[in-house]
Symmetry: C2
């Protein structure tokens, strides 16, 4: 094993854990599996982390932070609202296809957080982050296209997440990319109908 700082090793292990969870689920994310994935000896785990919980905490924190960052700079303004939504959803979709494991982890995290009392609040934070970034995206689009939304933006944000979540979930199951893109495009056109002229 290369000689690297403990901090770097931590990052490697967190990344490995992320991959394991995405591929095999939370239950199989054991210290052994994580170390094998990272190509590190088992003992290095407890050299870098006091406990497995410490790694899990760091992983969820990083994931939640990354959420805000990732979906935030995914907004793309085009002349029309419909086009803006279509392109924004398209870029989101690209990130999903590029790294399906990411979405698998997010789904697994939600699921896990919902029934593990130890992770109480994590799922709520996660969805609050989703809704917040969706809201910001919608506001930027409205601003950039010179329109206003005819429905409360909170409601539209929820609908936006319903679309991304729903399409992603179905795709994770059947991997029908054409159908996923078609659905996203159709929804983009529909959501654009909630844009009205600026007062």
């Amino acid at each position: 094993m290369a000689r690297v700082s403990a901090e770097d090793r931590r990052r490697q292990l967190v990344a490995a854990a992320f991959r394991v969870i995405g591929r095999d689920g939370f239950a199989r994310a054991t210290t052994r599996a994580i170390c094998i994935e990272a190509g590190a000896p088992l003992a290095s785990f407890h050299y870098c982390f006091a406990s497995k919980q410490e790694l899990l905490d760091e992983l969820t924190t990083q994931t939640l932070d990354a959420l805000t960052a990732a979906r935030a700079d995914g907004t793309h303004i085009r002349p029309t609202v419909a086009e803006s939504l279509r392109v924004t959803l398209g870029f989101y979709w690209q990130t999903v296809e590029d790294d399906p494991g990411r979405e698998s982890v997010l789904m697994a995290l939600t699921q896990h957080a919902l029934n593990d009392p130890g992770l109480s609040g994590v799922a709520e934070q996660q969805y609050a982050a989703y809704h917040r970034t969706a809201r910001e995206t919608l506001e930027e689009i409205a601003e950039g296209c010179g329109v206003t939304w005819t429905l409360p933006v909170e409601q539209l944000a929820r609908m936006f997440i319903v679309v991304t979540d729903g399409v992603t979930l179905a795709w994770l199951v059947d991997r029908d990319s054409d159908a996923a893109v078609a659905a996203l495009d159709a929804f983009a056109g529909q959501l654009a109908a909630f844009a009205g002229p600026r007062p």
Copy 2:
């Protein structure tokens, strides 16, 4: 313990397993937890089932069968397409609020099936069933309202499931019923825009 037939006890245990999975997730659905939930002694488990797998198989089979039945007779025809969609989604929503555990189990089942090779194909079957019943619902509505869909009905069926799945998932996390109903209503209106006059 009351003296009942082995078959009745099987049903009790399957029902208990269903509740445990909905509440605590798949990983915690141990034979012990299931028996405690059913109020039955541990030994009764292997009196009724040859193995845990046998119970799990019966549970997934029952669940998939119930899917087709449940969402199938949930179609409600009204004079307009928008109204039909709204009422149909409304009735679906009623079933979710009445028994949130049901949807929890379905989500957990999908998640579990996606990374457990032993349940390979289950998630695909599940979503195929979703899409099939959604398609039938949409065809019945088109027929009942005397319209045709301007998009392939398969695509609309997928979008329909995206909406129900997405709204349900968000609600399972934050339990905001008002927001969920508002989103469903808005989507109903939007999907109705894909109805055109019969040729």
